[in-house]
């Protein structure tokens, strides 16, 4: 049996704190090099954690939104609110644990990143109100076609003023 090391945000912070003490006290060039590497790694891990947090918050808001509100609710998290339109209204997004794990890649400049998240997506498409039945369906708070599909969320992120936001979302076929 293999015991895989845990890499939760909590353990990351703990290790970071332990490492931070000797690094802060070091003054040699070799130590400075190590310091730069660790700072870079630390920054990358912080970015990774921030993006995961952003992603989770975005999903939470989608999943808690009422019909038709998802776009408005999630828009503030987008660098460009118009990018909140992902072609279809998202009603529910759940991690697809049966597929590959989430991948977040941060660009070398630390200002851009991309994520790939395998997920199970429930979309809703409004039915046109062009007949009595459709008008009645909307009048009772329904009137949407719901579909549940396996998809890949391809998300581009941008960092500005120290904060990450969503630049673009694509719901791609798996």
């Amino acid at each position: 049996m293999t015991n895989k090391p845990s890499s939760s945000r909590r353990t990351f912070l703990k290790r970071g704190a332990i490492l931070a003490v000797p690094l802060a006290a070091a003054a040699t060039p070799a130590a400075a090099l190590a310091d730069d590497g660790l700072r870079s790694r630390l920054a990358k891990l912080e970015d990774d954690a921030a993006i995961r947090g952003l992603h989770q918050n975005w999903l939470r808001e989608i999943n808690n939104a009422n019909h038709g509100e998802a776009g408005e609710t999630v828009a503030p998290r987008f660098a460009n609110p118009e990018a909140a339109v992902v072609g279809q209204r998202l009603r529910r997004v759940a991690a697809d644990h049966g597929r590959e794990p989430d991948v977040i890649e941060i660009a070398p400049d630390g200002k851009r990143a991309s994520g790939r998240f395998h997920c199970i997506v429930e979309t809703e498409t409004p039915i046109a109100k062009d007949c009595t039945l459709a008008q009645m369906a909307h009048a009772q708070g329904s009137g949407f076609v719901h579909r549940t599909e396996r998809r890949v969320l391809k998300v581009d992120y941008a960092k500005a003023n120290g904060a990450w936001s969503i630049a673009k979302v694509e719901l791609a076929a798996t």
């Binding site: 007949c131 329904s142 949407f144 076609v145």
Partner: protein, 589 residues
């Protein structure tokens, strides 16, 4: 001669007076208590009770005899009012108004459990003051020294699909069907002659597995509120009716009734789901609205056009079987009522025939291809080109339709041509009807097909039928768009829209007609009167559980004839037909 049982205007055509608050208040204050044809119960006489509700008022009552009470709402001062109470098994039901106000209460208490359901009732809560509003509170009758009960009465879907005939103690007879969890379908047998059924928002509350509370508010009509407790096994009811009738007279009484169980339709919620309808959620950031309920208001929202307006829009745009537009149309969310239509048949292409109707000019046809025909009436005049579509419901039986050109009422023909029998039936749709010019009307004509190699019958025809009456069928037109037809009376049907959890939701009804083409194959129409004005026609095939149809509708964008197609499921049948048979006296049975 005692007169017919029919009203001068059917319910959806009555121009109910927009009563003012002062008028309503005056009429309420002129009545001291609800009347009753049955002896009132003295179950509460001499008693005091305190009803505690969840998120609602605490009501302290002291009852003096069987018709006077004193009420204290919370910490307010006591008021005296007249009341009426009736019992049904262990359940006591009472109602009263509060003098000098436009509000009151109806309360059901189960004396076995001390659980209570309180209907807070008021007028003047909607722009049409006469429409009774209600909020439902669940609670219990406080018992000194005892902890409050943990359970409550609750909304339920357990009543869904049931139907009853009711006869009240004052003589009113109704058929009441509950095919939805938020609406109901009722036929006024004695008040309106039982021609048409009507629909109203309703509440269904479970007391226990044998007893329920039902309400309806006749929104879009008189606004009258009816509530009763019913015993499913004994088929007995006790309740109240509160509202203003077509003469603006106050009807406020308690009633008893006995009835007959008509059967049970299938339900489509997930097995084990017994939830009732939740009130609509408040708008984001807004508090909950007292009395909120979902109400379909088709009369308020329908386009209402004059004859001149109809003529103008028809001249501008009259289309038939336009190609659906948009990428989502093909069987997707935008497919509307044609998502499960199936292919347009080319069987008629190249054929020439005459449809010789008994009561309509003969129609000669030359079918150029699968979408183009030429017709002329009565063998005279020029051949007129028209766009058509045809659908083969079963071998040899086709539904086709087309608009007629230069007709003063913008006629459209929806035709079932039965080449196996040489018979034809047309639903002749037309506009410029008396109430709103864009509302479609329809006439049914029977006849025969004359064409080379086909000898039609001399006397036999397709016939009007009541074989579908009482049945119910679901129609899935396209993803997300499913309705349920309830063939309620020989002259009307209703349609129910399902919720996201497949409960019956909003419901409406209209005049209808049924023609038998052959066993298991029925050609029927419905008119969305006081509701969009559409004429819908479908050819229902019970063997394939599929229907094809043609809609005919005029609105601001012009006149349109379009195709309908649905996959069906059989919901069941209620035994309603015996109540539509006319007795020797001319009265309904």
């Amino acid at each position: 001669m005692s007169g017919t049982p029919y009203p001068k205007e059917q319910m959806h055509r009555i121009a109910y007076t927009k009563l003012t608050k002062d008028q309503i208040s005056g009429k309420l204050n002129a009545v001291s208590a609800p009347t009753s044809a049955s002896p009132l119960s003295d179950v509460f006489a001499g008693k005091s009770i305190r009803i505690v509700t969840d998120n609602g008022p605490t009501l302290s009552y002291t009852f003096n005899g069987n018709n006077q009470l004193s009420l204290t709402e919370g910490n307010s001062s006591a008021v005296n009012a007249g009341y009426g109470a009736l019992t049904l098994d262990s359940i006591a039901f009472f109602t009263h108004m509060i003098p000098n106000t436009v509000r009151g209460y109806a309360v059901a208490i189960d004396r076995k459990t001390n659980l209570a359901t309180v209907f807070d009732l008021w007028f003047c809560g909607y722009k049409d003051n006469r429409e009774v509003q209600r909020e439902i509170y669940y609670g219990y009758v406080e018992q000194p020294g005892q902890d409050p009960p943990k359970s409550r009465h609750a909304t339920t879907d357990r009543m869904e699909g049931k139907g009853f005939y009711w006869k009240q103690d004052a003589g009113a007879e109704t058929l009441e069907l509950y095919p939805s969890t938020s609406y109901s379908n009722f036929v006024e047998l004695s008040r309106f002659g039982g021609e048409l059924s009507f629909c109203a928002p309703s509440d269904y509350v479970k007391i226990d597995d044998n007893h329920y509370i039902y309400t309806r508010t006749e929104c879009e009509f008189s606004g009258t509120f009816t509530a009763y407790v019913l015993d499913l096994n004994r088929v007995e009811q006790a309740g109240t009716r509160l509202g203003f009738n077509a003469n603006d007279d106050l009807e406020y009484y308690v009633f008893r009734g006995n009835g007959k169980w008509l059967g049970q339709f299938a339900r489509f919620e997930k097995l084990g789901d017994e939830r009732g309808t939740e009130p609509p959620p408040p708008a984001p950031g807004k508090p909950a609205v007292k009395g909120a309920r979902r109400v379909y208001r088709p009369f308020e929202t329908m386009p209402k056009m004059t004859r001149a307006e109809v003529d103008a829009v028809c001249a501008k745009s009259s289309t038939a079987f336009e190609a659906p537009s948009g990428p989502a149309r093909a069987g997707g969310a935008g497919a509307g009522m044609a998502g499960n239509l199936g292919p347009n048949s080319d069987w008629l292409a190249g054929k020439q025939l005459t449809l010789r109707y008994d009561t309509l000019p003969a129609m000669e046809y030359r079918f150029e291809d699968a979408e183009t025909l030429h017709y002329r009436k009565d063998g005279r005049g020029e051949w007129i080109k028209a766009r058509y579509h045809a659908y083969e419901s079963c071998p040899g039986v086709f539904l086709f339709g087309h608009l007629l050109k230069d007709e003063p009422n913008h006629d459209g023909h929806m035709v079932v041509a039965d080449f196996d029998q040489g018979l034809v039936t047309v639903f002749n749709g037309y506009l410029n009807t008396p109430y709103f010019a864009n509302e479609a009307g329809v006439k049914i004509h029977f006849g025969v097909i004359e064409m080379d190699g086909l000898i039609p019958p001399k006397y036999r025809r397709h016939e009007l039928t009541d074989e579908m009456v009482g049945r119910s069928i679901t129609q899935n037109y396209s993803p997300g768009l499913t309705s349920m037809h309830v063939y309620t009376t020989p002259h009307s049907l209703s349609w129910v829209i399902f919720t996201d959890t497949d409960s019956g939701g909003l419901e409406w009804s209209g005049p209808a007609g049924y023609v038998k083409i052959r066993d298991g194959l029925y050609f029927m129409y419905w008119l969305e009167e006081a509701c969009n004005g559409t004429l819908g026609t479908i050819l229902v095939n019970l063997k394939t559980m599929r229907d094809v149809g043609i809609g005919y509708v005029c609105g601001a964008r012009g006149l349109n004839m379009g195709a309908i197609g649905a996959h069906e499921r059989l919901v069941g049948r209620l035994d309603v037909m015996p109540f539509y048979r006319v007795r020797e006296s001319g009265r309904l049975e």
